[in-house]
């Protein structure tokens, strides 16, 4: 048993302690917006926030997260897709297949938390998620667009 705070809700889940947080989120909690891409912290598809910091949840055992730590997934980033990043993503029609995009958005939200006005080089250095469809340039443009707009702050 583990107690987690996900998107503002306290959840008790039945999972073995070394189960990666990713699979607890996807299978026990049932939030499937967080994706599995590699399982070894390489691709970023599984990015969520813990206390406002973007982490790769496939490489974090659920037992490493304390009950009071705030986990935010893509479903909790905004109630209705209205986070400045989501709006910028929609404005620029960023996704192709879309599979990597929730992780991209969560990684970008993590970046804006620490660096609200990132330069192109900041974005290139910080966003290391893999996209096989090739949306990188539009991801970068969307992050800059969101940063230009109203405060892109963390929620949840």
């Amino acid at each position: 048993m583990a107690r987690l705070t996900i998107n503002g809700e306290v959840r008790d889940v039945d999972a073995d302690p070394d189960t990666p947080l990713l699979w607890v989120i996807r299978e026990q909690v049932g939030l499937t917006g967080t994706k599995f891409g590699c399982g070894i912290a390489q691709c970023g598809a599984c990015t969520v926030h813990i206390d406002g910091v973007a982490i790769r949840s496939c490489a974090m055992p659920v037992s490493a997260v304390a009950p009071e730590q705030r986990i935010v997934t893509i479903e909790g980033l905004s109630p209705d897709g209205s986070h400045p990043l989501q709006k910028a993503w929609a404005a620029l029609d960023v996704p192709q297949c879309g599979y990597c995009q929730t992780g991209m958005i969560m990684a970008a939200a993590g970046l804006l938390q620490t660096n609200p006005k990132p330069s192109d080089d900041d974005i290139r250095a910080e966003i290391t998620n893999i996209c096989r469809c090739g949306t990188y340039n539009r991801v970068r443009a969307a992050i800059k667009l969101a940063a230009k707009g109203a405060g892109a702050t963390q929620e949840g």
């Binding site: 891409g37 297949c97 290139r124 539009r138």
Partner: protein, 724 residues
Amino acid sequence: MTQVQSVSRRGFIVGTAAAAGGLSLGFHIPLTGGALAQPVGSPAEVNAWVVIRPDETVVIRIARSEMGQGTLTGLAQLVAEELECDWSKVTTEYPTPGQNLARQRVWGSFSTGGSRGIRDSHEYVRQGGAVAREMLVAAAAARWNAPAGECRASKGVVTHTPTGRTTSYGAVAADASRMTPPKTVALKDPKDWTIAGKPLKRLDTADKLTGKQVYGVDLKLPGMLNAAVKACPHFGGRIASLDAAAVATMPGVRKVVRIDDATVAVVADTWWRAKTALDALPIVWDEGPNRAVSSASIAETLKAGLGADDAFVGTTMGDARAALARGGRTVTADYAYPYQNHATMEPMNATALYTPERCEVWVPTQNGEASLAAAAEAAGLPVDRCDIHKIHLGGGFGRRGNFQDYVRQAVAIAKDLPGTPVKLIWSREEDMLHGAYHPITQARMTGTLDVDGNLTALHMRISGQSILAAVRPEGMQGGKDPVVFQGLNAAGPEGHLGYAIKDLLIDHAMRNPPVPPGFWRGVNLNQNTIYVECFMDELAHAAGVDPLAFRRKLMANHPKHLAVLDAVAQRIGWDRPPPAGVARGLAQIMGFGSHVAAAAEVSVTDGRLKIHRIVAATDPGHMVNPAQIERQVEGSFVYGLSAALYGECTVKNGRIEQENFDSYEVMRMAEMPDVETIVMPSGGFWGGVGEPTIAVAAPAVLNAIFAATGKRIRTLPLKNHSLA
């Protein structure tokens, strides 16, 4: 099978179809992005392509699969254009392959590959829209007792021109469905298009930003179990022994299933538990007959083919052998291109529900009908007792077309658990070890230059693997694989060489190593373009002629090839020197029916490559959505340059060595250059856009690297070379 005459009535409720087979789960399943299940009793479809609800929502049926390439939006634009509906009311849904079969394949092919989604179906989908429009207009006219010729449709409203009376599509859709469809309809001239040809936004974006979009790996069905699978990593190998009892009592484990003599799966309550138990399962592999096969042994085999006497002739003009034998200034070079994995971000997966009477599979697939055939075969049931529910793909790139191995596996597992849905997900490692790999080839290029530096004769010998021999032998022509010569044909609308070379011979010594090949986005155009376009650069250099000028002299008879090449040269500023420390390279090709070219600007500092800027031009003939073409072109550089910089599956002991993204590296944002896209449709033909540009990405950059460093890279990937 229950009634299938109306897809919309059937409502995509599994229970409807499954009830006859004894299953009555009766739950809604998620289908395409943005598609809404049609409630039972909704107004009938106008025709197979178009459903219009009383609230004016226009549901357009799409037979091809959306995997990120934008075909869903593009095909909907073509139907909507002729339908004269209100684009803001458009949504889409997938008919199932089973429904297609039951309706005499009214939706045509479901296959989504070869950049063919739009170019192969534009005519009949536009006709589908036009026929529906005529029926809607006729229904409105009948209500008014007016001749249909006095009525016009625009934005989903029918107007009786003489009286100004109007009605809406939603109001007359039910009547329209009972009208006799016209036998012939005229299609609009593309120059009159208002929806097609425009840079409209995709229809499937919103849910991808919130986590709502359901991919195959996300599917949840009541009572569903989860499976993880391992097949013998040695090609041709098998399971020598395994100890199922050792994991039987691990948490959540329900069953260990031996799928065949090389494959085993663990079924558990969650996927993580299934995978954990599978990793703990003691398995001894019998490495099989290919244990001695390695990258080095494969390279030797292919190398022998470079000089072999026997070869299949692809393209020939004049007498290249005689011309080369006459001598003159001869340039020769050997090139090599390695195995690649598709590495879609969403790993292979499928969910199957089997009973002795019926089998249904939910799967992200590029070819629903191939999935249906695989499911029926694995289930041992007739196809009309099976169906496939297509789910949005987290990438396809060719891996999810012909190859339905994951469908067969999922059905085999589900067959062991009748009545229980089972979701099979491959780990990334399984995906890397059991790809349908980009085939491996080498090429020997030999050319002669006359005293004026003109190319007079060229022999291109390709040695290596045939995809068709492995996956579609019925497509072979007397032992020859015509697909090997992609982009190298003397003529033809799919792709022909843009150079006039007096004495030309292109032939193929087929060498098929025991590594399964497949169609990998761009297919053989990828390496063929590297071979031809890098060698053109070598010849130009040997002749002491500018690479653009050298090519232009050979391209007078190929104005469309030349136009895209000129376009990128002009945009990058070829006639002016590059910025200090920067060098340029060019490449062009025709493939998948389109003309493409690229120009690259790179610098190499202390051995470190930086790609600064790419200019790409595409002439696809007709253009359905320029915004989506731009995205495909940009994405092509990520795919093509990932392969050029890093992509390589190496072989040892008859198996692939790379198991995840730590050893199979791909391009990330830090290396992504700016890409400027020129879309220059010249009309008159329909070319594809998802693949051709990949082919010019690598040679443009390799040629620029030569210009920067004097180093000619002839074997990929670049990571194996020092540029210092």
